[in-house]
Amino acid sequence: MTDQTTTGPSAAQPADRMPQWHLQGEQTAPVMVLSGSWQARAGNIPVFPKDGLKKAPGAHLSFQTSNLQVWDTGLVAFLWDLKRVAHDAGISLDMQTLPGPMRQLLELLPEVPDEPVHHKTARTPFLETVGNHAIASMTEVGVVSELGALTAKGAVLTLLGRSRMRMIDLLANTADAGPYALLIVGIVNFLIGAILAFVGAVELQKFAAGIYVASLVGIAMVREMAAVMTAIIMAGRTGGAYAARISTMQGNEEIDALNVFGIPTSTYLILPAVLSLIITMPFLYLYGCLIGMLGGFVVAISMLDITAAGYFHQTVTAFGIGQFVFGFTKSLVFGAFIGLTSCRIGLKAGRSAADVGIAATRAVVVGIVGVIAIDAIFAVIADVLGI
C-alpha cells in the first residue's frame, strides 16, 4: 500500500464517481486518500475492513480529500468504520486534515460504541410457562372479581348518596350503549330471526308444519339468540370502546391524575360504564326479541301459507314468561361481564399507541368468547333446573 496513485480531476466519467479509497505512505504515518462521490443513497459505500490497519501504536493517520467530489453521511459512515479500526490499532486520526463539516460529524461519533441493549429472550421451560399462565389467569379472575366487588360497593354507596358517581357520566355512557346501538342491534336481530325462519320453513314445510316456524323463531330468539347476539354486538361495539378509551387515558397519565386526586377509578370510570351496560342490555334484549320475531314473521308470511294472525297466535303460545326471565337474566349478566372485563383490560394496558390497539382487540375477543362461554354455563344450569 505504498504506491503513489494520482487521479486526475476528470469528474465527468462515471468510473471516477465511484467512492474510492486507498492508504498510502509509511506505516507510522499512513495517509487515507479519498476520491469519487460518496453518497449514502447510492448504496455503494464501501466498508473499511476490520484488519485494514496494522497495529502501530503512536502512529498518526492523516487524510487527503482533494479529489473528493460530493459527499454526505455515507462518507461519515465509512470514516466511522475507520475511526473504530484505528482506535483498536492504537492509531490516532489527524482530524485537522479533514474538512470542517466532516470533522464535526466524525467527532460526534464514539470510537468505542456502547453495546446495544438486547431484550432477554431466554426461553422458559414448558411447565413453567403453563404454570405462569395458570397463575396469571387465576390472578386475573381474582382482580376482575375484586373490581366487580368495588364497583358494586360504589353502586350501593351511590344509592345511599354517599359516593360520587356523576350522573352526567352515567347518562352519557347509557346514551352511547343504548339508543345509539339500536340500529345495529335491530339489523342483526332482524336478520337472525329471518334466517331462523328460512331454515325452519324449508324443513317444517315438508311435514306441513309450517306454522311451527313461529314457535321456532320465538323460542330461539327469546331463550338464546337475542341475548347472545346483542351481547356480542355490545362486546364489539361498547366493550372495545371502553377498553380503548381507558387505555388511552392510561397513556395520557389521566388515570394517574385521578388516583392522585383520590378519585376512585371504580366509581368514576367503571361504575358508569358497567351500570350503563346493565341498564341497557335488558332493554336491548327485549327489543332484539321483538325485532327478531318480526324478521321471522316477514319471511314466514312471504314463504309459507300462513296468516299474520295465525303467526301471532302461535308465537304467543310458544313460550311462557319463564323463558323471558331466563333470557332477561342472561342479558344482565352479559352486560356486567362485558363492562367489567373491558374496563379491566383498559386499566391493565400499556401506555403506547400499540397497546391501545392490543387492549381494544383483547376486550372484544374476551367479551365475545366470554359471552358464549357464560351462555353455555346458563344452558347447563337451565337443563339441571329444568327451565
Binding site: 449514502a40 443513497r41 448504496g43 459505500i45 466498508v47 454526505d72 453521511t73 455515507g74 461519515v76 459512515a77 466511522w80 470542517g100 463539516p101 466532516m102 464535526q104 460529524l105 467527532e107 460526534l108 461519533l109 464514539p110 460504541p113 456502547d114 453495546e115 446495544p116 441493549v117 438486547h118 431484550h119 400499556g350 401506555r351 403506547s352 399507541a353 400499540a354 397497546d355
Partner: protein, 255 residues
C-alpha cells in the same frame, strides 16, 4: 452563496375555519441559518411550524421551498418536497410499535432501494450522531424522554434532509441535557450544512444557537419583530418582545 434563501413565506395567514391564528407572516430563512420562531404560549408558533411542514394549508399567502411554490402543486409534489424536510416533534413522536432502529429504518426502507445491511449501517450512524447507539433495539416506551427526543432527532436525519424543523426541542429536558442538545444541533448544522427552523421559548437555548428569527404576537395576531434572539434581546424596543426576552411581566401581569 451564503445568503441563499431556502424557505420564504409571503403574507401567510393561518386559520382554523373562521378563527384566525396569525396573519401577514412574511419571512425568509437563509441557507445554513438557525431560524427561531418565538412568542408566548398560544401565539401560533406550532401552527406556523405545522403549516411549514405541510400539515396545515394556509388560508392565504405564498410559501416557497427553494424555487418551488409549496402549496401550488398536488399532494405528490408536496411529498417530494417533504423529503427535504426532517421534523423533530415535541415529544419525539416515535412509532411505538417499532424499535428505535426500525423507526429510523422505516423512511429508508420506504424511499430508497438500499439493502437491509446498508440501511442498518446508516441507522447506526444516525444513532451514533445523537449518542444513542445502545438503544437501537429498544422500544420507545423503554427509554427516557430525553432519549426519545434524541431518537426523534436521529429519525429526522434519516433521509439526510437539508431543512430541519424542531418543535420545542428542549422542552421537558434538564438544563444539561438541553445544553448538550443545543451543541448537537449546532454540530449537525455545521456538519450537514442543514438549515434549521426551531420553535421554542427556551431563552438560553435560543440565545445560544439561533441566528435569525421571528416573534409572533398573540394579541394582534401578527409578527411584531424580526431578527436574531440575541439582537432582539439587546435592541428591540417593543415592550412585549422586551418583556419576553427579559422574562418580565408585562403591564397586564401576564408573563
Amino acid at each position: 452563496m451564503p445568503d441563499q434563501t431556502v424557505l420564504s413565506l409571503r403574507d401567510i395567514t393561518l386559520s382554523f375555519g373562521p378563527k384566525i391564528i396569525q396573519k401577514n407572516i412574511s419571512l425568509d430563512v437563509r441557507k445554513g441559518s438557525i431560524f427561531a420562531v418565538m412568542g408566548g404560549s398560544g401565539c401560533g408558533k406550532s401552527t406556523l411550524l405545522k403549516s411549514m411542514i405541510g400539515l396545515l394549508r394556509p388560508s392565504a399567502g405564498e410559501y416557497h421551498v427553494g424555487d418551488e411554490n409549496y402549496w401550488a402543486g398536488d399532494e405528490a409534489h408536496r411529498a417530494e418536497l417533504n423529503h427535504r424536510f426532517g421534523v423533530l416533534f415535541q415529544s419525539g413522536a416515535l412509532w411505538s410499535s417499532m424499535t428505535i432502529g426500525e423507526n429510523i429504518a422505516l423512511p429508508l426502507q420506504m424511499f430508497t432501494d438500499l439493502k437491509p445491511a446498508v440501511i442498518r449501517r446508516l441507522v447506526e450512524l444516525k444513532l451514533g450522531f445523537v449518542g444513542m447507539l445502545q438503544a437501537i433495539d429498544l422500544y420507545p416506551s423503554e427509554i427516557s424522554g430525553g432519549m426519545r427526543k434524541r431518537a426523534g432527532l436521529a429519525r429526522a436525519l434519516a433521509l439526510d434532509p437539508d431543512i430541519l424543523f424542531f418543535d420545542e426541542p428542549s422542552a421537558g429536558l434538564d438544563p444539561i441535557t438541553s445544553a448538550r442538545l443545543d451543541d448537537l444541533i449546532l454540530n449537525l448544522r455545521d456538519g450537514l450544512g442543514a438549515t434549521i427552523i426551531i420553535v421554542s421559548h427556551e431563552l438560553p437555548s435560543l440565545f445560544h444557537i439561533a441566528d435569525d428569527g421571528i416573534f409572533l404576537d398573540p394579541r394582534t395576531k401578527t409578527p411584531i419583530a424580526h431578527g436574531s434572539p440575541r439582537d432582539l434581546r439587546d435592541n428591540c424596543t417593543d415592550p412585549q418582545v422586551h418583556a419576553f426576552m427579559h422574562r418580565e411581566r408585562d403591564e397586564e401581569g401576564n408573563t
